[in-house]
Symmetry: C2
Subunit: 337 residues, 2 copies
């Protein structure tokens, strides 16, 4: 055990693009757990697009902005190193939200013990964690596709999108993805089993994107799971079937700078669409069911996933910036131990 | 009875703005009803924004475009002049969809007899007709406000918006309108009983509009009934409360030319909004209940409304063009008899 550990704090708020100097790596003394507390060594840090939103002063009350000079928020998977809480034993694997740091202290609230015999620890930050439940909720509760319908998902190779498409296929739907580049598209169809995948880099305009979507979804789109926004979203809106459902999970294309408008607005009325934005933490009631299904899928190899793993805490800022640009392939993690 | 009558056909499709020469007034021979048919003299023609969408070649299959050289579509209220159908007597008042013409022949299908003792005939084209049911459906089934919540409605003095606000008030909500000009705003608050009304002509930018909405809706907006789009919609989106509901009934601001984009897209996620476009004719199941409630409200004087009545069929094109520009005040009708 070490007497100090490293953490990364938010040093400044990004103007348009996030830059490495928005973060500061610090070495701080290692605290000792008090009676009832545990010390957790963080093994994996989850990097997720929502963090980008927290880096700015919130325009609204929906989420607290990340405070300056405090440890960057984030989901973590780790192992109990010292326990003064009878509910946890040294060696237990626990999920938590310690953020961008190597160690964390907890009184046990917010920690969840997980079983890593059939499911790798890192999967609990991906398909069997928040991203997986996000996919599950948006697909089942918003897109709510019937067998034979078509589901379109953007960022299809990503932590959320990959699960959306696989769940849609398992539900008897046609699954169409949008991803960036031929490698990701190939992975989406050949490894994840989507019926088709569109490379958004080949479509710089809405009309071109819409044409590609129509070709990949000849019966139109019934459920759209939107992670990106911009041209892909407008193209998809042009291909929606009457009474289509759009789950708006994220709009990462607009996170760096001004958000990207929606142009195909009238289709909301013409196609009588339902568009719902959601945040998975509002729906804690579905987590147990969703995690049980997702865990079974991963344990049985039916839900496949990919990870991009940065090594060491110091690599987190660049990995995060890369993720915002789509440089990751699958779930972006930082391995700390 | 006359041996000929007048009708207006679509002569050409509008490029950007509708112009009078998109229409052509024709005199045609008066047909005689066959066995089982009735001849209806049209007293009122309803002019509605949806007609603008039908004038162009449809991009989608959701609605048939108005055919060139055929009578312009539209809802009508009229009186049976000749009956060879035992279900209808001469003098019966009937609603129908004869379009822009002085007479119509029907076998009775699609005709609905109405009682004009307590409710004026023209009201069946307004608050006790399609616009009223549109208001009822969007408010009750999409905005679904709870008592104490705030409902915002654009085009608040119009045929639909005026009913939305009055139903919202009756449901115990704060009702805020957006309308064009001080006269309409004064009418909305003083005669229709809305709590506040914003003159959109005073707000050329989204931020200014949002500030005005915040002042008029200090607790935020829970239900938005959108008839217009553009700056009002973006301003409203900036003021939505978490889990707010947006009923998109129409987007008249974008009907003339390119549709206006939505800029405040991220608020969909941040506020977890549900946005639903709808067309009231998809929901025939609610019409009986809605019309019963609306008819009671009008008969008892609890639902107030205003009409702008153009005189004579030849005045229909200018009245329609004026309506698209917001020159009407309340329901736009054309009185033919």
């Amino acid at each position: 055990m070490t007497a100090s550990f490293k953490r990364i704090v938010l040093a400044s708020r990004p103007a348009a693009h996030v830059t490495p100097d928005n973060f500061r790596l610090e070495t701080v003394p290692l605290p000792q757990p008090a009676e009832g507390e545990v010390l957790v060594r963080v093994h994996y840090l989850s990097l997720d697009p929502y963090m980008r939103g927290r880096m700015i002063e919130s325009r609204s009350s929906y989420a607290q902005p990340q405070k300056l000079d405090e440890t960057m928020i984030g989901g973590t998977a780790g192992v109990i190193e010292v326990s003064r809480n009878p509910k946890f034993a040294v060696g237990d694997t626990v999920l938590g939200t310690f953020g961008w740091q190597e160690y964390g202290i907890s009184d046990g609230r917010g920690l969840m013990k997980v079983d890593t015999r059939a499911i790798p620890i890192s999967a609990y930050l991906g398909p069997v964690g928040m991203p997986g439940v996000t996919a599950w909720y948006g697909l089942n509760r918003i897109c709510a596709p019937k067998p034979g319908e078509t589901v379109l998902v953007s960022a299809a190779s990503g932590a959320v999108g990959s699960v959306v498409g696989q769940l849609a296929k398992a539900a008897g739907c046609r699954a169409v993805g949008i991803a960036g580049g031929p490698d990701k598209c190939h992975y989406v169809t050949s490894e994840l089993g989507f019926d088709a995948c569109i490379d958004h880099r080949e479509h710089a305009e809405v009309q071109s994107m819409a044409k590609a979507i129509r070709a990949a979804a000849p019966k139109g789109v019934d459920g759209l799971f939107e992670n990106v926004g911009g041209i892909g979203l407008d193209g998809a809106l042009a291909c929606m079937n009457p009474f289509g459902r759009v789950a708006v999970c994220g709009l990462i294309a607009g996170y760096e700078g001004t958000s990207i408008p929606i142009y195909n607005v009238f289709t909301l009325v013409a196609m009588r669409l339902t568009v719902r934005g959601f945040i998975v933490s509002d729906h804690l009631d579905v987590w147990p069911q969703a995690l049980a299904e997702l865990g079974r899928g991963v344990a049985e190899g039916k839900i496949r996933y990919r990870e991009t793993v940065a090594e060491g805490l110091a690599a987190a800022p660049e990995a995060f910036i890369g993720m915002l640009k789509g440089r990751n392939f699958g779930k972006q993690l930082v391995k700390l131990a």
